[in-house]
């Protein structure tokens, strides 16, 4: 009896056991591999979506504030005589646009939304220039947005009944903070505005240049797509922007990276062609005539974003439609996402509206 109970498996038992075991282990391994693959995919798609969403949120937020200059009509804003000019080699311009006059340049607040397209020498609007990391990616659009940040600086506590009353406050801008010498501001009261350098604020006392004015930090943003390493085909394109910064001797446009993986940016500019206030025409930047820019009421932003890393088990064979062009099939191992936002501008230069 004893020997029989301890004799182990027969060959048949062993074989059956091994087959069953192998089936189970095979099943478990295949489930594991599938879940690992789906994890990679989910992670890539999530990162991709996040990048695109972030880029869209940043651009959308800027666009909604475009043309906000502290509540004063943009036609009443002048440049201070002491305002440091942005060197023309740095500044954006509208060269090539028949009838345009500095629509894109930093210190001309009048046209607060402008766009252009990067040409075959990686340049656009005169401010995105040069080969290498400084240039833009050919065929992508460049979007210029001018606005002030929504935090006003005042010369002390103001009576809510009339914050523009020049007899309140002490005449020195210090609330909530004093002005930064190296930034550009717009000083506004309810009647007029003045663009000035932080180190030479205008007189805001009664009878001064801008009586009872509040200062707002000026923000000039040029969004574009760049290739961080043009010699490599394996690097990730970036959505970058240029903003006005003080370099020690002058204001210049300096680069900031905004979102990784954004490969293409295209914009469509919408306006009302018959002045009834309803957007009925959408144009790409190159189709816009000089007289069209002032009418822009809405901007559609298209972004093509790709994942930061390759997935060798995936081949992108899709063709993406962007305004004015179809992006050729890439046939590579990057996942891509096309996203789109339509932003109606809150601050219009021309009000085409009847009634109240």
């Amino acid at each position: 009896m004893n020997s029989r109970t301890e004799r182990g498996f027969s060959l048949v038992e062993l074989m059956v056991g091994m087959v069953l075991g192998l089936i189970l282990i095979g099943g478990a391994v295949s489930i594991y591999l599938a879940s690992k693959r789906s994890y990679v995919e989910v992670e890539q798609v999530a990162a991709l979506t996040e990048s695109a969403r972030f880029a869209e949120q940043i651009i959308g937020d800027s666009l909604r504030h475009a043309g906000f200059f502290g509540g004063v009509s943009v036609g009443m804003i002048e440049a201070s005589s002491s305002l440091t000019a942005v060197p023309s080699a740095q500044d954006c311009n509208d060269t090539g646009l028949t009838g345009g006059t500095d629509l894109a340049s930093a210190n001309n607040l009048g046209q607060f939304v402008f766009a252009g397209t990067v040409d075959s020498s990686n340049s656009a609007l005169g401010c995105i220039t040069g080969s290498g990391v400084e240039g833009g990616m050919e065929g992508t659009d460049v979007l210029v947005i001018k606005r002030v940040l929504t935090q006003p600086y005042t010369d002390g506590p103001r009576d809510s009944l009339d914050p523009n009353d020049p007899t309140q406050g002490d005449g020195t801008i210090d609330t909530p903070d004093s002005l930064d010498n190296n930034k550009t501001y717009v000083m506004t009261n309810n009647v007029k505005g003045l663009v000035f350098d932080g180190d030479s604020p205008p007189d805001i006392s009664l009878g001064g240049e801008i009586p009872g004015g509040m200062a707002w930090e000026y923000n000039y943003e040029v969004y574009y797509i760049r290739d961080p390493d043009p010699t490599s085909t394996d690097d990730t394109p970036q959505l970058s922007r240029k903003t006005l910064k003080w370099n020690g001797t002058a204001m210049e446009l300096q680069r900031e990276d905004v979102a990784e993986g954004v490969e293409n940016l295209r914009v469509l500019l919408g306006y009302s062609s018959n002045a009834d206030g309803e957007v009925d025409t959408y144009k790409t930047p190159s189709q816009m005539a000089a007289a069209d820019w002032v009418k822009v009421q809405s901007v559609e932003v298209f972004l093509l974003t790709r994942s930061a890393t390759r997935d060798v088990q995936y081949t992108d064979v899709k063709q993406y439609q962007m305004p004015g062009t179809a992006i050729p099939v890439a046939n590579d191992n990057y996942r891509r996402l096309i996203s789109h936002a339509s932003v109606s501008l809150r601050n219009l230069k021309l009000m085409a509206r009847g009634g109240v």
Partner: protein
């Protein structure tokens, strides 16, 4: 002897149970991870939808406040108005059809500047005898659903009134 065989059989049955439980555990862990993976995407799009609808709700507060112009409840009356919709019955509240209800949006009208000179469109339209004075208002609208989304939008409003200078 019989006792011993019985005990053996009991032991073998126990091993089968443990093996089955182990497999169950492995399968459970795998499915929980898979579910977690797919719910990440769900959470992301859920948050995105929340933030979009929050923004639209806050905008709706602004539009609804503007719609009160020239009605009996006109909040642009030369003073601050903490709740422009306070006179409305909850069922007739202009925002009662919002997804999160009217209570999720907090609107306020603030008088920024009492009657004063109107701003000019540009310097060329300057005139020596202005017919109107202007009041500057600010509508602030905040939509908040705790732990979901919060949006605050503001809009400036200019009201032309028959000017003191013109009289």
């Amino acid at each position: 002897m019989r006792m011993r065989m019985n005990r053996n059989r009991h032991q073998q049955r126990g091993v089968a149970l443990v093996v089955a439980l182990l497999f169950l555990l492995v399968v459970t862990v795998i499915s929980v991870i898979a579910a977690g993976n797919s719910s990440l995407g769900l959470k992301m799009s859920d948050n995105l939808a929340d933030s979009y609808s929050s923004f639209q709700s806050a905008e709706a507060g602004i539009i609804a406040t503007l719609s009160l112009v020239d009605t009996a409840n006109d909040p642009f009356d030369g003073s601050d108005t903490a709740d422009p919709f306070s006179a409305f019955d909850p069922n007739e509240h202009p925002l009662s059809n919002l997804k999160d209800g009217a209570a999720s949006v907090d609107t306020e009208v603030i008088l920024d500047t009492a009657a004063t000179t109107c701003p000019l469109e540009d310097a060329s339209t300057a005139s020596s005898a202005p017919l109107y004075d202007c009041e500057f208002y600010r509508i602030s609208s905040e939509h908040e659903v705790p732990r979901e989304a919060r949006t605050q939008v503001e809009m400036g409003v200019l009201k032309k009134i028959v000017g003191i200078g013109a009289q």
